[in-house]
């Protein structure tokens, strides 16, 4: 009972309900085969690729910032890995290190620009998004001559980053689960996590209370860009090739997943469990519809309705969390 009561006070509450409601809707109304839906790889692969980026971006949103440059950083990670280890034939370690280092650099740029100017991070990362798109396209076309750069990764790298378990489930799912644990500990169990909440609530007060707000912001931007590069890198290793534009639809999908997961767009509220379940919900809504008898032309309508319902429920649960306890005089 306590568990249930606590759930309904947590930011994840609405996303759990949306998840249950979506699956119920697809099974009861859409006549989807439950077993086929649950065991399907499509939505889980989709979720893991979104989820790894959604974790750090969600933390940034809790801290009152946002990053959309990951839309270019996913292809950037893929292209860097493939250029270094495919086109130039360097060891895969160098390719991977190059991709992740690029993430560190762009994350630092985003973070330093956001903390040293008053420009909202949405605009700053819109800028770096566009710049990185330009650089990625230029690099692919001029250095490799093609946007699809071939890459042959050695067996161990394939095993760790580009394996298909049962020939269907990408190994990146395991990475996602690990990272959910890591980010969960970080946000909920450390002082660093407390600083993130405080910054999202009121940055000036947090700074006056001794929180190193600039360092936290910069670090979160680095996590975000590195995670995006990691997803791109895994994709290149898995598919043995790259795509320049692969990451753009991610921007909408990642932010929708985070918000469905109960993170407040204006900051200060959210949880890693919420982001995790929000990503699952969004992925099942998105990919699960093909398991139903619902006409695929309705897909966007269904996705839209679920998103709006989730937001409304989020609002409701946030109010409940606020008023919890104030009735007991």
């Amino acid at each position: 009972m306590v568990l249930i009561r606590n759930l309904f006070r947590s930011p994840a509450a609405a996303s759990v309900l949306s998840l249950v409601a979506t699956v119920a809707f697809y099974v009861l109304v859409g006549r989807a085969d439950v077993l086929a839906l649950v065991s399907a790889a499509s939505w889980l692969n989709f979720a893991a690729n979104l989820g790894i980026v959604a974790l750090p971006v969600g933390l940034l949103m809790v801290a009152g910032e946002i990053d959309i440059s990951f839309g270019a950083m996913i292809p950037a990670g893929a292209i860097t890995t493939a250029l270094l280890s495919g086109t130039y034939g360097l060891p895969i370690e160098i390719g991977m290190l190059g991709a992740l280092s690029l993430g560190v650099i762009v994350g630092l740029v985003n973070g330093i620009l956001s903390t040293s100017t008053k420009v909202p991070s949405l605009l700053i990362t819109l800028g770096t998004l566009t710049v990185m798109q330009g650089i990625v396209l230029w690099a692919a076309m001029h250095l490799a001559g093609n946007a699809s750069i071939p890459l042959q990764a050695p067996a161990w790298a394939k095993f760790l980053f580009g394996q298909l378990i049962n020939n269907s489930h990408q190994v990146i799912i395991a990475w996602w689960i690990i990272l959910v644990g890591v980010f969960g500990l970080l946000l909920h169990k450390t002082s660093f996590g407390n600083w993130i909440y405080a910054m999202g609530g009121d940055k000036t007060s947090a700074r006056n209370a001794g929180v190193p707000t600039e360092r936290v912001t910069i670090l979160l931007f680095v996590f975000s860009a590195v995670s995006a590069c990691f997803v791109g890198m895994c994709g290149a290793i898995l598919f043995n090739t790259t795509q320049v534009s692969g990451g753009m639809s991610y921007i909408f999908n990642v932010i929708a997943s985070i918000v469905v997961g109960g993170v407040l767009l204006s900051g200060g509220f959210g949880s890693v469990m919420g982001i995790f379940i929000g990503t699952l919900t969004f992925s099942i809504v998105n990919k699960g519809i093909s398991f139903t008898k619902i006409n695929p032309n309705w897909a966007n309508l269904v996705i839209g309705v679920v998103l709006v319902l989730a937001m409304v429920m989020n609002e409701y649960f946030r109010k409940r969390a606020f008023h919890y306890g104030s009735a007991s005089k």
Binding site: W195, G201, H323
Partner: protein, 266 residues
């Protein structure tokens, strides 16, 4: 006689060509409530910002315990035990009581890289500190600050300041946004802080609230101290008149009277 905890000597503050404060001298002693009264725009906020280290005075000196100090930042001031509580108290409405209480000074358990935030301890200390101020309604540190009443949030903020060793408490219009009952509640807490030996600077434009807790009063008009007196020296009406600038109030009354007269004639 011991030195006052905090003393301002001939403080002036100007922003470019605009003089905001002229020749402000004030003292606050331990266990004393200094009420700073003034209408909007009288310079109250600028004075608070000087006390809390946000602004540096253009001239004049600040002394603590008789020794000159200078605050370069809000952290300097809070490091010396000056805590400012703003109108809405808790500034992190979406955080739990325990979490918000310890922002920037989180208790941890474990060691090395495995130090984790000790939520249980944070909640316990936060709840105990609030209870020490007589608020027994709050018993769960997991509650969100935003769910508390305005008075409870103020009390939480004051309890937090006291826990972290504040010696001077600056309360910026703590009762302005509150109802009668809630305001009374906050005034009681102010009284308790005073009894604990804190020096309190209570900023308000509500004369009744000031008179309920104040030991010493200063009225600020257009950046200068227009009156400085002790408890019992002046009546409520006299203080209100002072704040409104005396003559201005009389003029207004005359104006209204003559308007009424004209209306009657027409």
């Amino acid at each position: 006689m011991t030195h006052p905890i905090l003393a301002l000597n001939h403080i002036n503050k100007s922003f470019g060509p605009i003089d905001v404060l002229h020749d402000i001298s004030l003292t606050v002693r331990a266990g004393e409530v200094l009420c700073l009264l003034g209408d909007n725009g009288a310079g109250k906020s600028t004075l608070i910002k000087i006390l809390s280290g946000v602004h540096i005075p253009t001239s004049g000196t600040i002394e603590m315990d008789g020794a000159p100090v200078s605050f370069q930042s809000p952290r300097d001031a809070s490091g010396r035990g000056i805590a400012t509580v703003h109108q809405f108290g808790g500034t992190f409405p979406l955080m739990s009581i325990g979490r918000s209480f310890f922002v920037g000074a989180e208790p941890t358990k474990g060691w090395g890289p495995f130090k984790i935030f000790d939520r249980k301890k944070a909640n316990e200390i936060a709840i105990k500190s609030i209870r020490d101020f007589g608020i027994t309604r709050i018993d769960d540190g997991e509650r969100l600050v935003g769910g508390l009443s305005g008075g409870e949030r103020q009390s939480l903020a004051i309890a937090r300041a006291v826990y972290f060793g504040a010696r001077v408490l600056i309360l910026d219009e703590p009762t302005a946004a509150l109802g009668v009952k809630q305001a009374a509640h906050v005034l009681r807490i102010v009284n308790q802080a005073k009894k604990k030996g804190l020096a309190v600077v209570f900023i308000t434009h509500q004369v009744t609230h000031a008179m309920a807790v104040g030991d010493h009063f200063a009225v600020l008009i257009r950046g200068s101290i227009a009156a400085d007196f002790k408890k019992g020296d002046k009546t409520r009406e006299e203080i209100t008149d002072l704040m409104a600038g005396g003559s201005a109030m009389a003029e207004l009354e005359a104006e209204i009277e003559s308007d009424a007269h004209h209306a009657h004639v027409a």
